[in-house]
């Protein structure tokens, strides 16, 4: 049997990957700079390939790449700035700089989407919600209830519709519209009836008992999590400083110039590579362990 798939950040507190991904996404969106965006896109793509697999990533790229191209081509039509004239489209001039700016923005959007998809693959919703502490205490509960009810509702809709389909003795199946009305009325009554009992079940367990609620957190912040958080925070500060320095010297218009020295990009490259490195080393360690056990 193949070894169980390694899930990066599965063994550390959810705050660690949440901070890492939030930081990467924020920096990617703020640093509109071709090199930064390129690094971010490469990191996101590598991570997506590693955790979601080639097929899932490719399915996403099918709409993400056209989006990139669209943004790239649309930008020159809205902002006719730059100095290197490529060609004229009717009355509008299309400049290289403006095209490059569009490409950067398009790549930025794709990178951010890829980061979110990758993060969602390793950070389940309930882990993320458990992070919302303090004043947002009702939020995890409400979301938790919704997450419970939606699959239940969909499951019931499937049962109701397949039951009707199975009862051929009841005559021809009603038209789609009638059937949807019938199913939704049925589900509404069913849910309303459940909600009465659910409200009782909540009150029977002390809901609205007047005491301030506490929160059960399924994960605990350990020393190594704090250390990892501190490391990531430090790296983020360093990246932000470098990004600020690099972006303030960089100009798209009228000509692209002001490229910062290479070492200013290093911290961000490290940050963007961190998720995929965790994945690769983790998988390697898992395989070695499995091999050692046999």
């Amino acid at each position: 049997m193949a070894p169980a798939r390694f899930i990066p950040f599965g063994t550390c507190h959810a705050a660690v990957p949440a901070t890492l991904f939030a930081g990467v996404v924020a920096l990617s969106m703020l640093a509109v700079h071709p090199v930064f965006v390129g690094i971010s896109l490469a990191g996101a793509l590598a991570f997506s390939l590693a955790v979601r697999g080639a097929a899932a990533t490719a399915r996403g790229l099918v709409w993400q790449l056209p989006l990139l191209a669209l943004v790239c081509l649309l930008n020159p039509l809205f902002s006719a700035s730059g100095s290197t004239l490529l060609f004229k489209l009717g009355t509008r001039s299309v400049y290289l700089e403006s095209l490059a700016y569009g490409a950067t923005m398009g790549a930025l959007m794709v990178a951010v989407v890829l980061w979110f998809e990758g993060a969602a693959a390793v950070l389940a919703q309930d882990r993320l919600l458990a992070l919302a502490g303090g004043r947002a205490r009702a939020l995890p509960l409400v979301t938790s209830m919704a997450l419970q009810l939606v699959p239940q509702l969909l499951g019931r809709a499937r049962t109701a519709r397949s039951t009707l389909a199975a009862c051929t003795a009841a005559g021809p199946r009603p038209r789609l519209r009638d059937e949807l009305v019938r199913t939704s009325t049925m589900l509404l009554t069913w849910s309303l009836e459940d909600s009465v009992e659910r409200a009782d079940a909540m009150r029977a367990r002390g809901w609205e008992s007047g005491v301030p609620r506490t929160q059960y957190r399924p994960e605990r912040l350990r020393g190594c999590d704090t250390a990892a958080l501190a490391g990531i925070a430090a790296l983020l500060v360093l990246c932000a400083t470098c990004a600020w320095a690099a972006c303030s010297s960089w100009r798209f218009y009228p000509t692209m110039r002001g490229l910062a020295p290479w070492w200013l990009y290093l911290p961000f490259a490290l940050l963007a590579a961190l998720p995929v490195m965790t994945m690769v080393t983790g998988t390697f360690v898992t395989i070695c362990h499995e091999g050692g056990c046999r």
Binding site: S144, A166, A169, T185, E197, R203, R205
Partner: protein
């Protein structure tokens, strides 16, 4: 000391003329496993709810309801949540949160229990009930039996001294029911929690009960704890094949997802016309899936399904609510009157058979679970299907209702219907089925005539 004491309690719902409870007095001693038995509508739930002020019905209450010597009306919600646990009937409705751990912590969070204490209680309760393997599961993925155990756990985690349960097993299959009751009994004996169960099938708890009360016409009398159930009477019919025109499948493989396990693996089944076939097997062995495949609503990945009766079939789903779509019981029965070629007279007769003649204008969801089940079955039988597929038709039914289902199935069959029923209820199988198929590991292991099946069986005899 008494755990629950009712002293000349009378109760009338707000707006109702007649009281549901009249001068009821009873004492449940501490540590008891007490049963409140009685027919639907006899006031069992009302009685239980009166001991839990947050969910007491609105109405006029006279007399005293005391829990461990204290009047419950003096309880604030916090004290009540600590002292009295309550488990409801419906496994789907009483689960609040999306994950098992959150559901278990919900009550403790409400009471402001500090986190370390909360962890300890959740851990201990999980250990006691054996929940640990699915502690991080999503509640939407749990079976009905697991959800009900979770409801029990969520009540026990608050460490109540008195636990009230309202028909806790009526929506479970017999195996899940046994599991649940065994855990409940352990909580009663090992944790010394006083248990009070309202039920219409007291026989199933015969091994555990220490005292029992019967409710009828607003009054309560103590009765002896019930004995083991009697056998269902066999419906006297002999199998006559109507020849040909049955249904069947050959080498059917099915799974719900590309990476999932095969639910049906190379399954073959032959059903002759006019036969009543019972399908038995453990939970999750694919019985419901098989019914859906035969009905043509699920398409197998491999194999062939042949169904000569496909144009006139009907399926009774596990949850009768999936079949009830109308505002009144009468409208429900009238829904398919055109296709079925029946009218008001037949519906009136059906209402009479169901004992629901007075309830014709009530909402189907206001009926008890058992009545809903019978109503759904009657609705199907009115259209006279040639192929009747029944999924757990006796779930949650008391003895007389099970006998009624057995009679109705026999009548449908004498009208020429072919019946395939998936069930855990072996008594019912003995009463109605011509042949029994045992399902295991995604295939049919053995098919034999009913008597032969039971006499050859080591487990089911």
């Amino acid at each position: 000391m008494s755990a629950l004491e009712l002293d000349r309690v009378s109760f009338a719902y707000a707006g109702a003329d007649a009281p549901v409870l009249r001068e009821v007095s009873l004492v449940v001693p501490e540590g008891a496993f007490a049963l409140f038995a009685g027919a639907t509508g006899s006031g069992k739930s009302t009685l239980l709810r009166l001991a839990k002020p947050e969910i007491s019905p609105a109405g006029a209450l006279e007399g005293g309801v005391r829990v461990f010597g204290e009047d419950v009306r003096a309880f604030d919600p916090q004290a009540s949540a600590h002292a009295v646990g309550y488990v409801f009937q419906n496994p789907d409705a009483q689960v609040v949160c999306d994950t098992v751990w959150h559901e278990m912590a919900f009550g403790l969070e409400n009471l402001g229990v500090p986190e370390p204490e909360m962890r300890r209680r959740v851990a201990e309760t999980c250990n006691f009930l054996g929940i640990e393997p699915w502690f991080r599961a999503r509640t939407a993925e749990l079976s009905g039996g697991q959800r009900q155990i979770l409801a029990l756990a969520s009540a026990l985690v608050m460490r109540p001294r008195l636990l009230l349960l309202d028909e806790p097993t009526s929506m479970l299959d017999p195996l899940a029911e046994k599991n649940f009751l065994a855990l409940l009994f352990r909580a009663n004996r090992e944790l010394n929690i006083t248990v009070v169960v309202a039920t219409h099938t007291p026989e199933t708890m015969a091994d555990y009960a220490t005292c029992a009360f019967e409710l009828a016409d607003g009054s309560v009398r103590p009765v002896d704890p019930p004995r083991a159930p009697e056998m269902l009477t066999k419906v006297p019919v002999t199998f006559v094949s109507t020849g040909g025109g049955g249904a069947g499948m050959r080498d059917v493989w099915l799974r719900y997802d590309r990476d999932a396990r095969w639910v049906l693996r190379g399954l073959g089944l032959e059903l002759s016309g006019g036969e009543v076939r019972a399908l038995v097997g453990s939970n999750g062995c694919g019985k419901s899936t098989l019914l859906s495949v035969l009905a043509g609503v699920l398409r197998p990945q491999r194999g062939r399904v042949r169904n000569a009766l496909a144009a006139s079939q009907a399926l009774l789903p596990q949850s009768p609510k999936a079949l009830l779509a109308h505002e009144t019981v009468r409208a429900e029965l009238m829904e398919w009157s055109r296709a079925g070629g029946y009218g008001e007279a037949e519906v009136a007769a059906a209402l009479e058979r169901l004992g629901l003649a007075d309830a014709a204008e009530r909402h189907p969801h206001d009926l008890s679970g058992g009545q809903q089940q019978l109503l759904a079955l009657e609705k199907l039988l009115l259209v006279r299907p040639r192929l009747l597929l029944l999924d757990e038709p006796t779930k949650g039914l008391d003895r007389s209702a099970r006998e009624r289902v057995a009679r109705r199935v026999a009548e449908a069959r004498s009208d020429g219907a072919t019946v395939l029923l998936a069930t855990h209820d072996l008594e019912f199988v003995r009463a109605v089925a011509d042949n029994v198929s045992l399902m295991f590991d995604g295939a049919i292991t053995v098919t034999e005539p009913t008597d032969e099946f039971f006499s050859n069986s080591w487990l089911y005899s």
